[in-house]
Every structure is written in structure tokens, then in C-alpha cells.
């Protein structure tokens, strides 16, 4: 039977397992949208307020339910509005398929209305991209896009479908799609690795997003227990272990825990699982690598040896590698090392906040008290993000949606929308700041339309907190354009969107609001904190644990 290109796109999205897509219509995708309209009982389309919101939503959706996120946008401005969200998914290895429309092939390459070279623009921030010039290639191309997005190190794949291909017709046979082949364990000398681990007295495990992606939390926990090895986490790996597991030292690196960063420096072995040794995590690499063996396990071969030089390495899926390694690991007690960890834990300086009664810590801890283990937590980027990572009691792997690699302010609101659709409209918390929230708060409109119970905790200090903190520390307090002299009334703004809006000036006021949240509308809670609150510890860029700043 002959069907249109637009129909083929919808059929292939469904055949590849998509049930929800996010997007925004426009001239070059109207044929595709007509098909989405006809097939709305088989494929749910979520209309956001801006393409950036749609792509962050597809990202949040993918992170929450471990499937491939799908986003659709029109040509030209629709496509360019996606760029930040695609880069975000690329740097955090999130599987995503992006479908963009483009001008008809007859006027392609002529700077036609709403024509941009989206393939050229997104080249460095996608795993791969396709332009479909012949409708006969459409079915296979979309299958390939899903396969590439999900295999190996995951990431975004873009498929550009010109308008004339959407309206063209060709034979279609509804062929089943082969499921993506699961990763297999790579060949490696597990015994040699186990032997190298055995002789070390101060083992430290550094776990990251690869542990979440491969679902290796149980294996990570077993390794830590067997070796009596403390675990430091990267931002992307923060939820890999429950926060209350005694050997979970928390995040390491620039704004990580003192104990986590110091233990990494003092260890004689770092077993790095699904991490890429970002500069934010390692600081000065020469200092980081000193006096220790580094074993690096990661699914991306190009990450091995890129930022640090491991003594031993294996390229493969973390869960499979650990499953092979674990039976060969001998139980170790390492009492001296564990005693040292306890000492370091005691030395961890409790953060002192300017305002003792109402500060980021007790705001976040209060929100945590009113959440369940299954509550998805999204963040934006800045001080509030660091505080949320430090003080929120994460218990379930993958429940944190945060912009790790790109550090994209404005990520959170879209991500929270996506998470709601992944989690059957369950309560979702967004920690944001007044700077980040202002960037994409238009998605409150989306949350109201779709009755999403998103709780926006606006940690509002009237400033771009991290730049201000850096200016205080490194630029002699010259606060160049980082104080936001705005008069925005956020609760009133929320109400104007049709959402609930509150201001909480104390923990008890916050509690009263959290006790009585609507389950079919978003709520914005404006929590105004002191502008002088800062994030500690802090390691200056390029520094090491020797340069750690513990308080202001």
C-alpha cells in the first residue's frame, strides 16, 4: 500500500516504541502534524510553548523512563531553537531522536524562507544526523536513528525531512522493527584486573552517569561492600547509590563534598565506572593522578585516556563488566582506610548559612520531607542546583534530572514537563533559581494546559548566584551584571499563567504550602533567600583538593 512520507514518519516513530512526542508545529512540518492529528490515539503529541521547552521535555522524558525521547520541530527557527537542548542531550548522553522539517527539495539550498542548514548547525552536537532526500530511505533512516541513539554511548540523532518528502508517496509494508541489541560483555582479562585491585589498601570508586545508564547500581553497591571501598559520585552519577549508604561520600569535584574529593586524592586506587573525568570533577589532572592506579571502565573508547591516563581500562557496558569482575574480587576489610574516611567525614565542615532560620539547606530538606522515593527531581543550573545535589536525599537511581555537561540554565522547566509525562503525571519537583527560571518559565503554560503537578521551588536570591560567588572570590567583589535588579512578582506571574503561586518566608510557611498541593496544576513557591549565601566547598578551576575553599 502506498502511504505518504508524513505517515511513514509517524508509523516508524510508533514502530520504534514511541508513545509520546514533544514538539511545535510550523510550515515545514504541517503535513507531518496532519498525520499526528489523525493518529493522536496511537501517538500522543505534547505541544510546548517553545521548541527549547520541547527538546528539554524530550530529554527529561528519556531520563525518567529510560526510553528514547522524541522531539519534532519545523525548519529554520524551529530547528535553531532546539540547539541548546540537543547539545544538552549530547553532553549528558541522553538517547533522543529529533525530527525537523525542511523546505521542499525543489527550493532546498536557495536560502529559502525558514531554511537553515540544520545538519551543519548541529553537526558537532549529535551522534549522527540524516537528511532524507528520497522517501524510499525514510523507513530505514528512522529505524537507524533510533538504533544509533540507543546503542553504545547514547545520544541525540537528528533526522531532517524536507516538506516534499513528507507529501510524497511510496509503498509501505509495516515491517516489524528489530529491537536494539543489548550490550554484551567485552573481552577483557578480568583476573588481571582483580589482581591489580587486590594489592591496594585505599580503594576508591568513582561512579558516574554510565552506572545509571547501564543500570549497574546493584553491582556498584556489591563492589563497594566487597572492597570496603568508599564511593564518590559525579554529578551524572549522583543517584547511583542511596545517599544514606555509609560509604557513599557524595559528589566529588568542584562543588563536591570535602570527604569525597579528599578521599579520591588520598586513595591508592580509583576504580572509575561510567565516567569521563570532566574537568569539573578532577580539577588539576596531574595532582589527581598522583600516587595511584586508575582503572577506567566506560562504554566510549574515546573517553579512555582522554582526560586521565588509566593504568588499566576496559571499554564496555559497566554492568556487564562488573558482573564479570565481581566474582573474582576478594573481600577486603581495609580498616585503616575506613577509619581515615570516618576522620575525613568528621572534618567535613558543616556549611554555615548567613540566615540560620531560612536558607537553601532547610528549604531543600523540607521539600525532601514532603517527597517520596519515587519523586522525580529536576534542577536548573547554578547555586540552587549545587545545593539540591548536596542536601536532597536521593534514594532511587535516575530520579535526578540535571544539566550536567552543558550546564544549561533553563533546562529544568522543560525537563520537569517531560518527566511528568514519563511518570504518569506524578508529582515532580523542580529546584530552580530566579535566573534559570526566567529563561524558560513560559513552559508553566504547558504545565497548566496539561494539568501537570510540578512543584517549582524557586530559590530566589535576586542574583545569578554562581557568577556572583565567583566574582566575590576571584574578581575582588566586582559584581558585573550578576545582580538581577528585577521587580518580578513570581507568585502573581504563576497565577497569571493559571498556576498556583505562593511566597514562603519561613520553613513553617513552606511546610503549610507543601501540605496542600494541587494534583492537577503546577505550583510556584517563591522562597527568597539572602543574596550572600554561597556554595561550599569550592575548588577553583584547575585547582586540587589542596586549594579547597570550605567557607566564605
Amino acid at each position: 500500500m502506498k502511504i505518504s512520507g508524513a505517515q511513514i514518519v509517524v508509523e516508524q516513530l510508533i514502530a520504534n516504541g514511541a508513545t509520546t512526542v514533544f514538539g511545535y508545529p510550523g510550515g515545514a512540518v504541517l503535513a507531518l502534524y496532519d498525520e499526528l492529528y489523525k493518529q493522536s490515539d496511537r501517538l500522543e503529541h505534547i505541544l510546548t510553548a517553545h521548541e527549547q521547552g520541547a527538546v528539554h521535555a524530550a530529554d527529561g522524558y528519556a531520563r525518567t523512563n529510560k526510553r528514547t525521547g522524541v522531539v519534532i520541530a519545523t525548519s529554520g527557527p524551529g530547528a535553531t531553537n532546539l540547539v541548546t537542548g540537543i547539545a544538552n542531550a549530547y553532553l549528558d548522553s541522553i538517547p533522543m531522536v529529533i525530527v525537523t522539517g525542511n523546505v521542499p527539495l525543489s527550493i532546498h539550498g536557495k536560502d529559502s524562507f525558514q531554511e537553515v542548514d540544520v545538519i551543519g548547525i548541529t553537526g558537532p552536537i549529535v551522534k549522527h544526523s540524516f537528511v532524507v532526500r528520497d522517501i524510499k530511505d525514510l523507513e530505514h533512516t528512522l529505524n537507524e536513528a533510533f538504533r544509533i541513539a540507543q546503542t553504545g554511548r547514547r545520544g541525540p540523532v537528528l533526522v531532517d525531512v524536507p516538506k516534499s518528502v513528507q507529501t510524497d508517496f511510496c509503498e509501505y509494508f509495516w515491517k516489524p522493527v528489530h529491537p536494539v541489541e543489548p550490550p554484551v560483555c567485552p573481552e577483557f582479562d578480568a583476573q588481571a584486573m582483580a589482581d591489580a585491585i587486590k594489592n591496594r589498601k585505599r580503594p576508591y570508586i568513582y561512579a558516574g552517569g554510565g552506572v545509571i545508564a547501564s543500570g549497574a547500581s546493584a553491582e556498584l553497591l556489591e563492589l563497594s561492600k566487597k572492597l570496603s571501598a568508599p564511593v564518590g559520585l559525579s554529578m551524572m552519577g549522583l543517584t547511583a547509590l542511596p545517599k544514606d549508604y555509609p560509604l557513599n561520600l557524595g559528589m566529588c569535584g568542584m562543588h563536591g563534598q570535602y570527604v569525597s574529593t579528599t578521599a579520591a586524592a588520598e586513595s591508592d586506587l580509583i576504580i572509575a565506572l561510567g565516567v569521563r573525568f570532566s574537568d569539573r570533577a578532577t580539577g588539576n589532572v596531574d595532582e589527581y593522578e598522583k600516587n595511584k592506579l586508575i582503572i577506567h571502565i566506560d562504554i566510549d573508547n574515546a573517553e579512555i585516556g582522554k582526560n586521565v591516563t588509566p593504568g588499566l581500562s576496559v571499554c564496555g557496558d559497566v554492568r556487564h563488566v562488573l558482573a564479570k569482575l565481581l566474582p573474582l574480587i576478594e573481600k577486603a576489610e581495609n580498616p585503616e582506610w575506613l577509619a581515615r574516611i570516618e576522620t575525613l567525614k568528621k572534618a567535613e565542615v558543616e556549611q554555615v548559612f548567613v540566615n540560620k532560620d531560612y536558607n537553601p539547606r532547610n528549604i531543600i530538606e523540607t521539600v525532601c520531607k514532603f517527597s517520596s522515593d519515587e519523586t522525580v527531581v529536576a534542577t536548573d543550573v547554578g547555586q540552587h542546583q549545587m545545593w539540591a545535589l548536596q542536601f536532597y536525599n536521593f534514594k532511587t537511581p535516575g530520579m535526578l534530572l540535571t544539566s550536567g555537561g552543558l550546564g544549561a540554565m533553563g533546562f529544568g522547566m522543560g525537563a520537569a514537563v517531560g518527566a511528568c509525562f514519563a511518570g504518569d503525571k506524578a508529582k515532580t519537583v523542580l529546584f530552580t533559581g530566579d535566573g534559570s527560571f526566567a529563561m524558560n518559565l513560559i513552559e508553566l503554560a504547558t504545565a497548566v494546559t496539561y494539568k501537570l503537578p510540578i512543584v517549582v521551588i524557586l530559590i530566589n536570591n535576586g542574583a545569578l548566584g554562581l557568577p556572583l560567588q565567583w566574582q566575590h572570590t576571584f574578581f575582588e567583589d566586582r559584581d558585573a551584571y550578576s545582580r538581577l535588579d528585577r521587580k518580578t512578582d513570581f507568585p502573581a506571574l504563576a497565577k497569571a499563567f493559571g498556576a498556583h503561586g505562593h511566597r514562603a518566608d519561613s520553613v513553617s510557611e513552606l511546610e503549610a504550602i507543601l501540605k496542600d498541593l494541587p494534583d492537577d496544576l503546577p505550583t510556584v513557591i517563591d522562597c527568597q533567600i539572602e543574596q550572600s549565601e554561597m556554595v561550599f566547598p569550592m575548588i577553583p578551576p584547575g585547582g586540587s583538593v589542596k586549594n579547597i575553599i570550605l567557607r566564605g
Binding site: 566510549d300 573508547n301 579512555i304
Partner: protein, 82 residues
């Protein structure tokens, strides 16, 4: 710095050269010479790219090139000291 050459077997399609040179540009490496030709198999092309870098750079470039969808094979050619 050593001069090094990689030989690539790639899909013979528009845009492929762009992705490969884009990778060099993104990582900040200059291309000294570039040679592309179609092979006896019209579906694939062969490329020779000469650039400069130490052992680290060479390994990184090979591994990054191997990740590209259009790249079927990467061979690091014998090194020629300057």
C-alpha cells in the same frame, strides 16, 4: 610534534567530508593535507588526512573518528618524523 596520517574508509556521500574535517576543527587540530577519492566500490571513499600531534593526539583522533557513523575503518599510518 609528529606528523601523522590516518587512512579512512568512509561512506561515499555528501556531508561526510564535513563531519570528518569538523571533528578535526572541533578538537583544534589543523589538517596539513587531505586526499579523497572514490574507490572501486562506489559506495565508499578512501581518505588520507595528515595532521600534527603527539601520541595522545593521534590516539584521540583515531578513537573519535571511529565513533563517526560514516567512518567504516580508521588506520593510523606509519609515523613520519619531521
Amino acid at each position: 610534534m609528529e606528523r601523522f596520517t590516518v587512512e579512512l574508509i568512509v561512506s561515499n556521500q555528501y556531508g561526510v567530508l564535513n563531519r570528518i574535517t569538523g571533528l578535526y576543527a572541533k578538537r583544534g587540530y589543523n589538517i596539513d593535507s587531505l586526499y579523497v577519492n572514490e574507490t572501486e566500490n562506489p559506495l565508499v571513499s578512501r581518505m588520507l588526512i595528515t595532521s600534527q600531534g603527539d601520541e595522545y593526539t593521534q590516539t584521540q583522533m583515531v578513537r573519535q573518528l571511529e565513533k563517526l557513523y560514516d567512518v567504516q575503518k580508521v588506520i593510523l599510518m606509519a609515523q613520519i618524523n619531521r
